[in-house]
């Protein structure tokens, strides 16, 4: 009996980078999982939470809990969205015991994609092939809130034809930070410049990350600077054949 996993693609992937969601589904299906997409999903509430709008975040979180109730595995192509659910939902419901119970029940079932592959599916080689020189950007939430650092690198190491070059500022924030990117654009822009300088120094053609928000920030800056480097989500790399 094939194991069922539910996709939470995130609003950014749904609307701007749909191929990331499809790539993630492909990889999971190839591993033998039955993949479903609860259609009523929208967002995890992070934009409101990060901007200080707790009530609004709470409302969206309640909707999320409803949509994913009873799912055994929820797989997410984003460290920051997975972190919102796994680390912040608990604190959103101090006065709602039912919602709190639902949040605490769901939290251990929410998996950032690379962690799902390594810790649940227990694979580090998904049979991918991609002839390219890449560098990897450590998304902050994944790195610091989930301790995800070696995992994606192991997965990339097993992609045939791929060369991974480490950039010196791999662990430095790309400057996205959600609404930070538009509330303090100059600082955000300064931070991403440091990041793309570091990327360029590696000579890589492609920057890989497990978070589409980071990739949107980085690609936006690369494009503005007319640099020929492209970005790919880890899922897209792993889906390559």
């Amino acid at each position: 009996m094939a194991q069922r996993v539910s996709l939470f693609v995130t609003c950014v992937v749904d609307q701007l980078f749909p191929k990331v969601g499809l790539a993630m589904a492909d990889v999971l299906e190839r591993l033998g999982y039955l993949v479903d997409f609860p259609e009523d999903q929208t967002c995890c509430g992070q934009p409101a939470f990060n901007t200080g709008y707790r009530d609004e975040a709470r409302a969206v979180a309640r909707h999320f809990l409803k949509v994913f109730r009873g799912c055994e595995y929820v797989v997410v192509p984003s460290g920051s969205c997975a972190s919102m659910v796994a680390h912040h939902f608990h604190d959103l419901f101090p006065a709602e015991p039912e919602a709190l119970a639902a949040a605490d029940a769901l939290t251990p079932r929410v998996w950032e994609f690379s962690r799902f592959l390594l810790e649940v599916a227990r694979v580090d080689d998904v049979g991918a092939r991609l002839e390219d020189i890449v560098t990897y950007h450590d998304s902050c939430h994944a790195l610091r809130e989930f301790g995800i650092k070696d995992g994606p690198r192991r997965l990339l190491a097993n992609v045939r034809g791929l060369e991974l070059r480490e950039m010196d500022a791999a662990e430095e924030c790309c400057g996205f930070g959600g609404t930070f990117s538009v509330k303090l654009p100059e600082i955000s822009g300064g931070m991403v410049h440091t990041k793309i300088d570091s990327i360029v120094r590696t000579g890589a053609n492609t920057v890989v990350s497990l978070d589409s928000s980071c990739l949107m920030q980085i690609q936006g800056a690369l494009s503005r600077a007319a640099l020929p480097v492209r970005t790919m989500h880890l899922a897209e790399v792993l889906a390559s054949r």
Partner: protein
């Protein structure tokens, strides 16, 4: 966002030399710290952090007890504790004592607490000469500037600026060799140490079971400040307490390494009162000023009380990608960096600089390196919620508030969300390979404009994920 903050940020970002200076100086401190806390160098590093957090939590949660114990032990060793609610009371005490003792010259070692209360300005206003003796602070005093960084106060100045400054203020020849500049300052300050009536320091730690002040430094100016003049006054926030001398086994291992990568700073002084009977030198009078100045307000907020655990190592500044871009002078108060961002709104009120809690991408680098494990991102998030609550009460920023209300409603109604998404995609330029440098006017809302000011936008794909999924 406040215009002052934006202007300072903009000017700092636009100054290429300053950017390089900040990045290099903090980069060096990052590397030094990293080497000092590897599993080989300090295998118990994470354990020490947990212990430090537990010790601070315990002390702060029982602060009244430790304050009284501290006072009893200072008194038992011949010293005196002076309790001050605010800056004025500290200045009044120092001025009063100086008058009684006919003291005219004061030497000072580095203390952020005394910066916080503008002590030098207050003393100088009453014609007392108060000379900073830490090299970086001395330079800043001559230049009438605030510290740029907790540990490296003059990191923004070049040797040429220092040369000009010394020539102008000390009447010496313009010297640009750093070693020579340092020796000039040494000579000037040596005279001051030996002539001073009073030495004022801060305190890195106050040890309750000993009535002791602990000072860590590399230059020796704190030692001189506390050994040469006949009066020593230590000014410290009430949160500096630790319970026992043996707790230094935890804190001293963390402070030097986190700040500069040093297993031990050059000098660590454990001072518990005026000189005793058989001692040959040392001050004849010893005072510890315990300062509130708003700390009790932070104490009352149990959710953010951990902000008081800070041991002022500066690691959060060094690792903060925002600080590394905007530098110390962009911050509106004496404390900069992530710690400054969380305590400034708590001391001064969120209205003092409403941008501060938002001037962070919440990357968490600060929390990762904080030796006492303050969850800075959590406190920032709490402050953001407070700012928005405050805005709601005062009726400002209505448009943003409305936008998020609408956004939340849409996100709770999936069919509406789908329609809205289709409409938005329809307005956006069609999918090509290129990212967008600009958008049509109806789309050019403030957040979109802000985004486009720094980078390109992704083009809307022909179909959303859910549309593609349905067609699979």
């Amino acid at each position: 966002m406040s215009a002052t903050f934006d202007r300072k940020v903009h000017n700092t970002l636009a100054d290429a030399n300053l950017q390089l200076a900040i990045y290099r100086a903090t980069g060096r401190l990052i590397d030094h710290r990293k080497q000092a806390v590897t599993p080989e160098a300090l295998p118990e590093y994470q354990e020490l952090r947990a212990q430090a957090n537990a010790l601070k939590r315990h002390t702060i949660d029982h602060l009244d007890h430790y304050l009284e114990r501290f006072e009893a032990n200072v008194t038992a060793h011949g010293g005196k504790v002076v309790w001050c609610r605010n800056a004025t009371e500290v200045a009044d005490f120092v001025l009063g004592l100086a008058k009684e003792r006919q003291a005219r010259l004061i030497v000072k070692s580095k203390s952020m607490t005394t910066e916080e209360i503008d002590l030098n300005e207050r003393l100088e206003h009453h014609h007392l000469q108060s000379v900073e003796t830490d090299l970086g602070e001395y330079i800043l005093q001559l230049a009438h500037q605030r510290p740029y960084h907790i540990v490296a106060p003059a990191l923004h100045l070049t040797r040429y600026e220092v040369g000009d400054l010394f020539a102008r203020t000390l009447g010496v020849a313009n010297e640009t060799v750093v070693e020579k500049q340092t020796m000039i300052a040494r000579a000037v300050l040596r005279e001051k140490f030996l002539a001073a009536d009073v030495g004022i320091t801060g305190a890195n730690f106050l040890v309750a079971d000993s009535g002791a002040v602990v000072l860590v430094e590399n230059e020796g100016n704190a030692r001189l400040t506390t050994s040469a003049p006949r009066i020593h006054i230590a000014v410290a926030g009430i949160e500096k307490l630790i319970p026992r001398a043996q707790d230094l086994a935890v804190f001293l291992k963390l402070l030097g390494r986190s700040a500069t990568g040093q297993a031990m700073t050059v000098y660590t002084s454990f001072l518990s009162g005026p000189r005793r009977g058989d001692e040959i030198d040392g001050p004849e009078e010893f005072y510890v000023v315990l300062l509130d100045n708003g700390r009790t307000r932070l104490l009352a907020d149990s959710g953010k009380r951990e902000s008081l655990y800070c041991i002022r190592c500066g690691a959060c500044l060094n690792h903060c990608p925002v600080y590394r871009k905007i530098g110390g002078h962009s911050f509106p108060w004496v404390y900069s960096g992530p710690i400054g961002a969380i305590i400034t709104p708590q001391f001064m009120g969120v209205k003092f600089e409403p941008s501060l809690p938002f001037a962070s991408s919440l990357c968490g680098a600060c929390a990762e390196v904080c030796p006492v494990k303050i969850d800075i991102p959590k406190v920032l998030l709490d402050l953001r919620a407070e700012v928005k609550q405050d805005e709601r009460c005062s009726g400002v920023n209505r448009l943003e508030r409305l936008a998020f209300k609408v956004w939340a409603w849409v996100m709770c109604h999936p069919r509406v969300y789908e329609i809205a998404a289709v409409v938005a995609a329809g307005m956006a330029p069609a999918e090509g390979r290129a990212w967008l440098r600009k958008v049509p006017t109806p789309m050019n809302l403030p957040p979109v404009k802000a985004w486009l000011s720094q980078r390109d936008l992704p083009p809307a794909p022909a179909r959303s994920f859910r549309e593609m999924w349905r067609r699979r």
